[in-house]
Symmetry: C2
Subunit: 245 residues, 2 copies
């Protein structure tokens, strides 16, 4: 039986992809992924078969990848970042589990650096303490559920990372997040925005809870809102663990 | 000026360390880290100078690493997992910022796979939805603060990952977490426990919120408590994103 492997290619550069992920790509016959991400690894996939479609077609793409593995071809499904964090691992696994076990391709998830790992390194040390990770995309999740989570993250004084913070069509969610957070945290709370981490045009901005929504934020940005102890010094964002140094 | 680089070596195997981290080790003169983690990369540090001390001596070790860089030696400080998630990035950065800028070594953080990335891949797809990350170590954080965060994570229906869930001396915290979670979630909620991810003796257990504290949990374990939609099928733990497949 062929194998389907769902891998995280990391934030962008091949320098940030693990050897385990690299080997899975090298030994695969078919690569499936959103075109933008396939292009990030174009140099290493040579003449492999590619199942690449545009954004919003994840379900069809994963079905094709599963069929490819069932047809006997070792297939890799790629996510940018970590396939296990808001990535393709779940979708592929749910599809596989509908196939009776005797006919099911082998399955493996290979982790990668997610946007939060990459952005934290670029900002300094914002994640030395407890944190919450929330996607602001309300395509598959009711906005009220997301807002409730923002409220709980704010009240719990979690450092709060926002995935999919803003798109061309979805511009108000981030403003509502700001308003909820301001009920619990100082307007001076540091907020870091990292866009295109580990890719060309990587950008880092450190702002405040009061002002951060005035900055450029898009689908390639990760936003990290500090907790009540987070501070900025010389361009670094730091949430102290509490060591006495 | 020499450079101090804080890197995450990933969960254990060299297969999970990024090329960027590997290159930093290769080009360093001095390696600083907890002995257990230095041993994980023993094969690639050859005859480099090592600043290695036992657990609980992080502050002294980082001071020595900073002094090593000030003395002109390129120095790498290693954390297991991701140096930017409960790792050494913050401690080193705080020390550096006390040095006047002209005499300060260059500084870089290089991200690695944290326990949560590694454990999620091993369990299946538990992190397809919003999640909270909480350390149960109350050495530097008041227990009431941690409990409040557990309560907020529970009420917000976050998938909840627990770092440092239990040690030989600290065995009651995890029981209190279970009790708080049970106020909000079904006793049948899936709980995944991954110990020694990507190392020898890697172990994976999937239990329930009602029963998970009966399982072996130690300082090398990561615990992931599902949200209200998480389910288990054929040994995989899955939190569905909500796609219609």
């Amino acid at each position: 039986m062929a194998k389907i492997t769902v891998i995280g290619i990391g934030p962008g550069s091949l320098e940030d992809m693990t050897p385990r992920a690299r080997k899975a790509i090298d030994s695969a016959v078919v690569i499936a992924g959103y075109n933008t991400y396939v292009n990030l690894i174009r140099d290493i996939i040579e003449d492999k078969e590619v199942i690449g479609t545009g954004m919003m077609q994840e379900v069809d793409r994963c079905h094709m990848a599963v069929e490819s593995a069932r047809a006997g071809k070792d297939t890799v499904v790629i996510s940018s970042g970590d396939s296990g964090i808001y990535g393709m691992a779940g979708l592929v696994l749910e599809m596989l589990l509908k196939i009776e076990k005797d006919n099911r391709p082998d399955f493996e998830v290979i982790a990668g650096l997610s946007a939060i790992n990459a952005a934290a390194a670029i900002l300094g040390a914002p994640l030395m303490h407890d944190f919450a990770v929330i996607s602001l995309s309300n395509l598959l999740t009711p906005w009220d559920t997301i807002k409730k989570r923002v409220e709980m993250a704010a009240e719990g004084d979690f450092v709060t990372a926002l995935y999919n913070p803003k798109s061309k069509k979805r511009i108000k969610n981030i403003e509502e997040v700001r308003e909820i957070m301001l009920k619990y945290r100082s307007p001076d709370t540091p907020v870091g925005i990292v866009s295109n981490a580990s890719r060309e045009k990587e950008q880092k901005v450190i702002s405040t809870l009061n002002d951060f929504t005035k900055e450029e934020i898009n689908m390639f940005s990760l936003v990290i809102i500090g907790n009540s102890h987070t501070y900025v010094n010389d361009g670094y964002m730091i949430t102290p663990r509490g060591y006495d140094i």
